[in-house]
């Protein structure tokens, strides 16, 4: 793989409730530049907490108890995310690392056009842009994700679920981040739309060269799109290997069990047994 974009070291998160829940335990993870890393695991395994924690998006009672996150910027500067103050962190997010949230397509403001919601991103993060430039940027983004520039006047309810999810991807793409974190971006969509969006993500990655952390419980899907896959259980990464290795020679018992949870679509009838 290429050089490293993000290094997560000894990262731990505790939900400080009674009794405390150790949601993420001493996780080490490196994301390469331009790489797609899949993060797989079942509900409650800590995959979303890890992704949020890395961007310091967690709120109390969640507490980061150990670890560091270093972002190796493409202009050569290493940024330790723990040392950024609130203002720098705010500017950092979206600009360098953007996020597509779970169920994001339902997070659009129903009473504002998608164009104005996309323009908001530029208004906050690129205040130097004039109105006309912002509009041009929005139209360009909507063209890139194949929603079409003319749809900027549409309200969210006038778009299908798949189109709304594309708008969310356009939003995440707006500032040309170096890393996109996607939390279950296609789970609510049916297979045909899902395939279309996956194709688009991988095409955009080729074009813009960003890295992706793709979070889902759908292991077959991850196996197809990821370069490497991290399998998480109970707050720990139990196995981290190339997609090919996870498929051909899974080491951890839990990885084998997860693989065996999916019946085969083609090939011999039965589940994937290792």
């Amino acid at each position: 793989m290429t050089d490293t974009l993000l290094s997560v070291r000894d990262f731990s998160v505790v939900y400080d409730v009674d009794p405390p829940v150790r949601a993420v335990k001493n996780v080490d993870l490196e994301i390469g530049r331009g790489e797609i890393v899949g993060l797989a695991g079942e509900s409650g395994c800590g995959k979303t907490t890890l992704a949020y924690g890395v961007q310091r998006l967690l709120r109390p009672p969640a507490v980061i108890t150990s670890g560091s996150v270093t972002f190796h910027d493409e202009d050569g500067i290493d940024v330790d995310l723990n040392t950024l103050d609130a203002e720098h962190m705010r500017r950092f997010r979206w600009d360098k690392i953007s996020m597509v949230f779970q169920g994001a397509m339902n997070a659009l403001n129903p009473v504002a056009t998608i164009g104005s919601q996309l323009e908001d991103v530029f208004e906050v993060h690129r205040p130097e842009l004039g109105r006309a430039e912002r509009r041009r940027a929005v139209v360009e983004l909507l063209e890139i994700v194949k929603v079409g520039g003319q749809r900027r006047r549409s309200f969210p309810h006038e778009l299908s679920g798949g189109m709304r999810q594309r708008v969310m991807i356009a939003m995440a793409l707006a500032l040309r981040p170096q890393l996109m974190v996607m939390d279950e971006p296609t789970t609510a969509l049916d297979v045909l739309v899902q395939r279309e969006i996956l194709r688009q993500i991988s095409q955009l990655r080729h074009e813009f060269g960003f890295s992706v952390v793709f979070i889902t419980h759908d292991l077959p899907l991850l196996l197809e799109i990821s370069d490497r896959i991290a399998i998480m259980r109970e707050g720990e990464i139990v196995e981290l290997a190339s997609a090919e290795r996870i498929w051909n020679a899974p080491q951890h018992e839990y990885t084998q069990r997860l693989l065996a949870s999916f019946p085969r679509l083609t090939g011999q009838k039965g589940v994937v047994a290792r």
């Binding site: 079942e42 045909l192 759908d218 949870s261 019946p263 085969r264 679509l265 009838k269 994937v272």
Partner: protein, 270 residues
Amino acid sequence: MTTLEFQHVTKVYNVRGSGQLKALDDVSFSLTSHQTIGLVGQSGSGKSTIAKILTQLERPTSGTVLLDGKPVPTFGKGLRRYRQQLRMVFQDPFASLNPYHSIRHHVERPLRLDRVVPPAEVDAEVRRLLERVRLDADAVIDRRPHELSGGQRQRVAIARALASRPSVLVADEPVSMLDVSIRLGVLALLSELQREEGLGVLYITHDLATARHFSDEIMVLNQGRIVERGAADDVILDPQDPYTRELRAASPDPEKHFQELAAQNAGGAR
């Protein structure tokens, strides 16, 4: 032997502002006991409309539904008796059980309403049904839904569906909201019950892999029309209809993916 039959069923919804939507277009098929049919198709293809018409929650715009050759009753006692024979398992075990009531209440209600067993035997029957779906009756009977895991809840929903001793089960995405590692367990339970009780099961899903695994036959629905029907393996491995092919190509299939990768690499090395 029970046979349910759709004859030329069409369902049209009036959509405010945009005219009419044909959800089902001349659909005919039959489902008999001792058989599982997988019903697949993308969102909006009409899968759930078929379930709603089967359970008589909706009436067809035209066409008829027959049970053993006779039109299905649309009201009163007849309808109730019909619904006793055809039960549903819903997608969301969090929404389909009432949070105020115990597990006992959920399974007991159909037993009492349909007078399946004499009142004195209700308790024993509830326990038998819970054991039948592999739950520890003593441990769960007085609990409420929120105290159980998603998988346990779905088992309760299955026990409730079985209580009135139906001959047909309609399972609409019964495992898509469960954690992946327990999905197969619940599907395996459904298929075991199907065999042992001789049930007819309509398994509605968008997941082609489990449809292949757990169905005898598969029907593919596209825009309200059945475009293909056949033995499960034939439909998935050798799809005839272009839409079925499209669905299959879009479904994740790591096996094929890595085979193709290997072939590409071998080609590149040559």
